[in-house]
Symmetry: C2
Subunit: 425 residues, 2 copies
Amino acid sequence: MKKLIDFTKDELIALKADLEKQYAEYKAQNLSLDMSRGKPSKAQLDISNGLLDILSAEEYERIAPSFDYRNYGILLGIPECRRLFAEILQVEEKNVIIGGTASLTLMFDFVAQCVASGIGGCEPWARQGKVKFLCPVPGYDRHFGICEYFGIEMINIPMDGEGPDMDMIEELIKDESVKGMFCVPKYSNPTGITYSDAVVTRIARMKPAAKDFRIIWDNAYCIHDLTDTPDSLLNIFDELKKYGNEDMVVEFCSTSKITFPGAGVSALAASDNNIKEIQNRMNFQTISHDKLNQLRHVRFFDGKAENVIAYMQEHRRLMEPKFNAVCDSFEKEFSALGIASWHKPNGGYFISLDVMPGTAKRVGELCKEAGVVLTTVGATFPYGKDPEDKNIRIAPSLPPVSELMTATALLCICVKLAACEKLLG
Amino acid sequence: MKKLIDFTKDELIALKADLEKQYAEYKAQNLSLDMSRGKPSKAQLDISNGLLDILSAEEYERIAPSFDYRNYGILLGIPECRRLFAEILQVEEKNVIIGGTASLTLMFDFVAQCVASGIGGCEPWARQGKVKFLCPVPGYDRHFGICEYFGIEMINIPMDGEGPDMDMIEELIKDESVKGMFCVPKYSNPTGITYSDAVVTRIARMKPAAKDFRIIWDNAYCIHDLTDTPDSLLNIFDELKKYGNEDMVVEFCSTSKITFPGAGVSALAASDNNIKEIQNRMNFQTISHDKLNQLRHVRFFDGKAENVIAYMQEHRRLMEPKFNAVCDSFEKEFSALGIASWHKPNGGYFISLDVMPGTAKRVGELCKEAGVVLTTVGATFPYGKDPEDKNIRIAPSLPPVSELMTATALLCICVKLAACEKLLG
């Protein structure tokens, strides 16, 4: 079979007619399928139901912690929960702070603090004029949202199979108004790429012009492996130490995709200096986060990172077939035609599909008209603007496999149809 | 018995010697008692232990909400929880947002939003030069902390038995740089005063020069009645409506002193406009707060405000004897001497004691040396500076009655001793 761009006009017209027929058949089914957000499925949530039973009143009375977790206090999180996250992130307990349900809040609040009060002894960003952030693309819309909310100008940094374009980054950080960068270093949202050792090392040894340059290291998928050949990511703090650069990065994670997104626990890891500054702000902002929920999580995993990691295999059991289903369809439908590219990830929550440039928005429309909701096309870029209009983020976790296969089949038709339309002008 | 100021020098010397002897006896006991913070006692926490059992996995499966509360989503809080708080605060459900464990966070984040993004279509406070807040005194140190964190200048507004000095407020709000006010309108922290109807009405009809003037209406003790003659507070939003002033106030509360301070639920109530602006910020800041904990609270009270109010009688049963013990001691030890004043509150968490001007710090030192920790003297005023050095906040909730009586007896000795020292020069 030949590539689509080598098709004659007549061949394109014939293919288009055939695709339109197939599309009409799907449309007639009145589908209502959602691949838009990285939400765990009901089956995934069910495997954490034990959390609901693990801290009964009787059990709490039995364990009776010396500090009563039902009461005020312990701003940074209960020690056993800080220890668990320290083990997961391979940092020291003193460098961990436990948050509420959402690591997004920890990130937003950290950026807010830099804007309002400054960081590292520097002037607040709000008083430094125009401030810029580097944003590896495609990336996570909620990161871009934080920048947009605070009026931080975003600069696109292209990603390849190793991570973001480091040559470009090393050039841009010479500008003192460049204050930070958002990274999802493992199973990146949405590409599924894990930053290579070389990229992590280059990041760790950067010497940005701005003393208050901070990297938001959103390690959301740190233990979210889906295959027998998981990626491995260098420990960023080990690398930073080599260059005396520990203050440059703040790392974030949560149990949102481990236990319950609606009732989990988030955490950050940071250098002694950053912890001190963050703690100082939190001291004015809250009394403590939910210590009983922290205790539930610790008990559910018996306080051991190895148990959390073993537990992730339960998620893999449910997730891997979905990733396979989507990628197998892509392979079958697109490989020969050469009209799309994607990376089959070893973990995380997303598959990033690059379709023929100039057709992604049209694919999104076609899918929507036929009842399949994708992540808003463009959302994977700052300001919602995909410069090549080609990236589509697929979130396969929520629908059951059968629905997912239907949705993917339709998506493939739409991708091909939009490509035909484009080539036919 | 005559007043202390009418004592002769010899009488003062004799009294002082006697007090020093009593003080030494207490000191010899090596006490370690804490009346510093408004923490519920273990017995109070125990009455909410049912919360830990109310949402078992089996129970969750049985009720199976149509929207799965274990998953992402429902930014503003689950409807049944918004409804419960709406009933408690007597506002509409659409005007309520549920937060995390601490209402302090809701307040801090609201002020942060005004500073960083502005409110009511006005410029961010950060770009308006010097910004000021009115602070009724004595007041709550954590409110003052929020102002201090954001560099907001605080202006003391004296309180009397009706609330803050409204003449002074009405004058000060003519200044456009005065942007807001912190109020604890019911059982005020620390005075225990409830704002009179006249004061609430005058607040509601204010027309501040600043269009972005906002009152933080911290109704922390809205249903925290301790006696058979509870105070009643006008519904601020009913009053505001009469003057088209609904956007001027945002109200806050939580279950911290109803269920568990370490694992409760907070809420705010605001006008449609303010809800819209707060929601817009939250949209960037979080995905959702803990919906399962919201559900636990709703189920624990069967979703009815009347049950929460009835339940507060359990707290009263434990708290009222403590308030009585402290106030009875004050009455017995101070009334005749005329060296201190206080208000016996009908609810809330604190007793505010005004000692002889210029002696409060000394009382704090004496207590501390003898092993009794009070709230840091001065903390009830902005910048920790009590201009008359006379106010002491007593938090009677945490210690058992016997300990509380010992601590209060010592406190009374210290108050008298410091007064003698002062009068003797």
